[in-house]
Subunit: 269 residues, 2 copies
């Protein structure tokens, strides 16, 4: 019995040592993120898409809750405090303040909600065109020039910026139905759920990729523990590798097959 | 050359026959869904969760767009037309009308947004308790009695109904953090992303499962083609098998191991 008790105590000792080592590790790693905080401005414009804007909003709000206030998030518009109607006759949201392109943090631009194609007033291209005639493009130009700001987009948000020439030669993604247009507008379309072009521009694909854009930015700015807590609360797991122009680029088999065909002499039987 | 042309024409003929057979098939299947339409009421209450309510809202709105108006969706409240604040000091949404428990279709109840536990005013259990003191429970009781209504919930929405005793002995799911409470309130908790208890009550798990609840209901009421179009637009694929009490039930190995131990005589060496 005494021997068993001795064994048990050694086991408890080992366990407690292991436990302290495990609990020490996160502390070490947290140092990179110590005193980190982020402010997020989500830009509303007439005809914006509800989910594009509010899925990231809620990820950032929950991250703020779990971090004891290290993340703050607000809805803004180019015109300041006003009620902004969403697309497809959807409900309006109140922008709390004017977009401030001098404020450090993240500025997220959602896409529009409407008919995916066509020339009607409620077609997405027309809604984006109208947003482009407001004060928004100038403000976003200033945001891109500010080294303390990361610009993020969801869905048609990247098209909106590309229309102003702000994404010239930048890697970006948008909803699958807008990828050709994104290329035609001077951006470099990349087929990924989330694309990071340098550290200061992050774009997401269709509607629900806003969850992935926001979760990625939460992890990047505050570490993986807060992002994981939000994922568990939302019962969602971030999807897809965040593409950025680093590491080995994969062989493009369409191009390389063509190239090797051209190089090889024709085989005549 | 003539032979080649003949072959080509036969090939074109076969192709066109195949194509007409393919295009005929959906028509046959569509008959079940012919002239189908659905109206969806999404219930707002003070402190509701934005995504729980708006992810399904946007799925139904997009389904309406793709079906040429076979789906209509509106935001409602027990008190009628009013501005309803979301939880965690989030933005308010305008309820367009009073919840009508006599109107055929779907009534969807979202959960609350706030601290996942605790006794503070902004803790989820307290927000749900306050919603229960409004006219909502009586209206939902009448909705459950109406054979032309399907009640759907997302996240804490099922807890809200369970608090009123409306889910007694019904299969349901809620956010993982609320599953024990759901059982304590008389429901039968089922670990699935979407649970269908008979055809007139469908519940979803945490926040983002609202996408799956709405996509399932769109498929059930209007067929898979509209649901698929919405999935592609949103770049989201419905997740998980919709659980319902049919077919073979899986062996519960925790229970059966215990049972077989008890049945077998102890083995003495």
């Amino acid at each position: 019995m005494k021997k068993f008790f001795g064994l048990l105590m050694s086991f408890v000792l080992v366990l407690s040592l292991v436990a302290s080592a495990v609990s020490a590790k996160p502390k070490e790693k947290n140092d990179i993120f110590e005193d980190k905080s982020m402010h997020v401005q989500i830009v509303l414009f007439d005809g914006f898409d509800l989910l594009d804007a509010l899925a990231p909003y809620e990820v950032f709000a929950a991250a703020g809750m779990y971090s004891g206030g290290a993340v703050t998030v607000e809805l803004v518009s180019a015109e300041g405090k006003r009620s902004v109607p969403s697309g497809m006759n959807g409900p309006a949201l109140e922008a709390q303040a004017a977009l401030d392109p001098n404020r450090s943090g993240i500025i997220l631009v959602p896409g529009a909600s409407g008919k995916p194609a066509g020339n009607s007033e409620d077609a997405i291209p027309n809604i984006l065109r109208q947003a482009n005639e407001t004060g928004l493009p100038d403000m976003m130009k200033r945001a891109f020039e500010n080294k303390n700001i990361t610009v993020a987009t969801v869905c048609g948000g990247s098209l909106l910026l590309a229309m102003d020439g702000l994404l010239k030669d930048r890697h970006a993604v948008t909803n699958q139905i807008g990828m050709a247009a994104l290329g035609a507008l001077g951006a470099i379309p990349v087929n990924a759920r989330v694309v990071e072009d340098g550290p200061r521009f992050v774009s997401g694909g269709g509607v629900t990729s806003g969850l992935d854009v926001a979760l990625y930015l939460v992890e990047r700015e505050l570490g993986p523990q807060i992002a994981n807590a939000v994922e568990r609360l939302f019962e969602y797991e971030r999807r897809g590798t965040v593409w950025h122009a680093e590491g080995i680029a994969p062989i493009d088999f369409k191009t390389s097959q063509k190239a090797s065909k051209e190089e090889q002499p024709a085989v005549v039987p």
